[in-house]
Assembly symmetry: C2
Homo-oligomer: 189 residues x 2
Amino acid sequence: MPSTCDRILAAALAGFARRGVEATSLDDVADAVGVRKQTILYWFGSKDALVAGVVTAAVAELGDALDRAVASPRPGRPPTVAVVDEVLRLGARRPDLLVLLREVTRVGPSATGSLAESIAPRLDGAARALAGPDSGPVERERARRRLLEAGAHVIATAVEAELLTELGVAPDRAWLRRRRADLLAALAR
Amino acid sequence: MPSTCDRILAAALAGFARRGVEATSLDDVADAVGVRKQTILYWFGSKDALVAGVVTAAVAELGDALDRAVASPRPGRPPTVAVVDEVLRLGARRPDLLVLLREVTRVGPSATGSLAESIAPRLDGAARALAGPDSGPVERERARRRLLEAGAHVIATAVEAELLTELGVAPDRAWLRRRRADLLAALAR
DNA sequence: CCATCTCTCTACCAAGTGGTAGACAGGCTC
DNA sequence: GAGCCTGTCTACCACTTGGTAGAGAGATGG
């Protein structure tokens, strides 16, 4: 059995992604965990802190998966393809992870701030890798922008899949193939 | 000055799209309008009814704009291009309109139901136009699916633009051009 | 055996939620 | 003028929200 803290994080992630941050109360999360609200407030001093914790955990999980994808190269498969396929696999297995990132940008500056904070070191590293080791600040800024655009595109794709499901038109394999091609094209651009 | 009812609809649309349905209270909407909450409940018997009203109005406005785009053909511009450009124009002028449609699918069956109800007649008409006048139910169902997929793609694009703005990377003209090309490619497929 | 620390609990609170009841002002028709 | 309808209001209700205060159970270490 995972620790109480981890179970709280998992339940909060599910609730925040599925129903939105403001629409998910501490009591909702507590009920899902099978614990009292005050236990949540023991582990995370406030709801804002819980949101920050969930964001940090989600970014870490996402980043680790991408790091693994990049670190295990296969012959004939460029890193871009590896990253896209890993994201799609992750989107199929843990759609909440991506949807959450969109959801937290809507709750206010505090949550967006904690997202920016969690993501900054990985974004810097990726921008440096993309722009090259001896790149100037301008190139690096442009790389940051491209990465953010690509990330937003990925998240929007996850939102699109969720939306289709909600509309009763579950995304099928053909849809997934098209999206994969679109993502690769967007990244190659 | 627009009628109280219309002003309530406009304020509710803005709130629902910007902060989410559940996170926008009747008092919030009332304050924005400059009226008491009970006036809202006079015009719309409940919050659910208000959501349904906002959805209906948004779908109507969106549908009318698309109808106009299709109805005023220009030589050398296929209807698909006209529709895409009209949606992009609308997305630039009234982004809330598109974001709202995504937001209401998250609030529960009642709101999703009222969305489906509002959209059904237009969807049927468009599917018939797309599949041809003497098409069978199978073709028509496939046309419905394609239209829903295209709509989801459009809404996801609006979400993507909003997300980029929130991340501090406002979508620029190059981004818009790329998205336009992607939408056209998705529709031509 | 006691003290301390960790973790979860019960019992509250003030503020805010959607919603009901009913008053009141102004215009309409008879 | 009497009665009714429309639109807005004040006053209130039961319930939920995030958060505080503090008790108690159990382990750990001196």
